[in-house]
Amino acid sequence: MDQQPIISFKNVNKIYNNGTVGLKDINFDIPRGEFLVVVGLSGAGKSTLLRTINRMHEISSGEITIENEPISDYKGQSLRLLRRKIGMIFQDFNLIKRSTVQRNVLSGRVSYYPTWKSVLNLFSAADKDRAIRALERVNLTEKLYTRADELSGGQQQRVAIARTLMQDPKVILADEPVASLDPLTTQTVMDILKRLNQEDGITVIVNLHSVALARQYADRIVGLRAGAVVYDKEIADVTEADLTKIYQTA
């Protein structure tokens, strides 16, 4: 890689208030445009790692830089601008269930507007059009005016991806995005993420429980155990035996 990494962890530690070690001496770089999959047992620290990148969790020591800028000092507006360029996808979709698909998708754009405009729903025609195109990317245009809670799980996750696209993100963080989906829908959602990675050059970081999926989609796999990186290889070098080892207890 001749280019600068988009995200870089330097000696990052995270200890929760109750003393639990969340992350232990994390050191690695994520090159721009990579499809990185993070694997590890439940409680290994995958969600913690992901959430330190958009500062939903604070780290205890060390430094995380994004596009060469340390992110730990961001506050208020600068923190919101950081979050704007990092999309996030959740296991439970986290849509606003009583609102329409359109409103959910547009809600991904609010950081481009002053609060009073978001509150009064004063989205520009261009952004309403952008919402439709975001839904086109996930093949759900016909659901524009449907209420989110009337959609299947897979459809809800696609709406969540469309919402993220409205941010115009450089990075997408996905925390077990397919854990509550059936195998077929899983492929659809993972394919969409892969396409955003390849066509738009968005850096994608996905936490997964399935080793098979990790091998199918990743450019690189990082393994966590008890908050520490215990594995880090490009996909070409990954072997089945390696992965079973990550999932062995003790």
Binding site: R83, S107, V110, Q167
Partner: protein, 264 residues
């Protein structure tokens, strides 16, 4: 430990010691407190004929009285709507600040809750008396009393609703880079809206009834007429006033049910 054992319920689980204990305690408290305050339940039944006597005297409502009470009834409804609305407007920001899932600053939350507890402790009759003294006899005193009463009640009901919401959408909006107000508007409001509306209407209903009592102190509305009819022993007029109030309460209840169905 060769065969898997079914866990045994403990002695206290088997005999429901907790449930029985709580029931016994409640009964004891009830009996004890009625003893101490000198409530004589027997008297309620022995003097029951007084009550039936009153009902008989109210049994021929003076329908000719209806046109006279339309205006004060209308004023009562206006007072209740105005008081409830003003109270709600102030209650919403307080409810947000008192909700433990939205405000993590314990000090701020503690102070807000203390204020709310204080407001709810003030008896509304006392408030009415004070405001009648300040603003004179009339509906202004009534509206302010109802506003303060509604504020105390609604802010508590509202923050308890807010504390039960699903936090997922808030997390998503936060990750999008939304400001606090935007997060509340987009992710909190839709989750609580219909409960807010139904609590608002419930408070409105209580206020319609409360304002009949407030009228006693000269705080305007139908209560003035209720008091007059009672002091003149004109129970047939009292009956009309009660029936009219019942109609208003039923209408509010109907609207409330309808709105809840529509908003769900």
């Amino acid at each position: 430990m060769t065969t898997p054992e079914i866990p045994q319920r403990s002695w206290s689980q088997r005999w429901h010691v907790k449930g029985v204990g709580w029931t016994a305690l409640l009964v004891a408290l009830l009996v004890g407190s009625s003893k101490m305050t000198g409530v004589d339940v027997g008297m309620f039944f022995s003097n029951f004929d007084q009550f039936t006597n009153l009902l008989v005297r109210m049994s021929q409502p003076a329908w000719s009285y209806v046109p006279i009470i339309i205006q004060p009834l209308y004023e009562t409804i206006q007072m209740a709507i105005l008081g409830t609305t003003i109270g709600t407007v102030f209650a919403v920001p307080f409810a947000v600040l008192a909700a433990s899932n939205l405000v993590h600053n314990q000090w701020l939350r503690g102070i807000i809750r203390l204020i709310l507890d204080l407001v709810r402790t003030l008896p509304d009759l006392l408030l009415a008396a004070i405001f009648v003294a300040i603003f004179g006899i009339g509906s202004t005193a009534g509206v302010i009393t109802l506003a303060i009463f509604s504020f105390g009640m609604i802010s508590k009901l509202f923050y308890e609703v807010i504390e039960t919401i699903d936090m997922g959408p808030l997390e998503a909006m936060e990750s999008v880079g939304a400001s606090k107000v935007t997060i509340i508007w987009y992710a909190v409001l839709p989750q609580i809206m219909n409960q807010f509306v139904s609590y608002f209407l419930y408070t409105l209903e209580i206020n319609v009834r409360a304002s009949t009592v407030l009228g006693y102190l000269g705080a305007g509305g139908i209560g003035v007429f209720l008091q007059r009819s009672l002091s003149e022993f004109d129970y047939n007029k009292t009956a009309v006033i009660i029936l009219a109030t019942l109609v208003v309460v039923m209408v509010i209840d109907g609207v409330s049910n309808h709105l809840r169905r529509v908003l769900l």
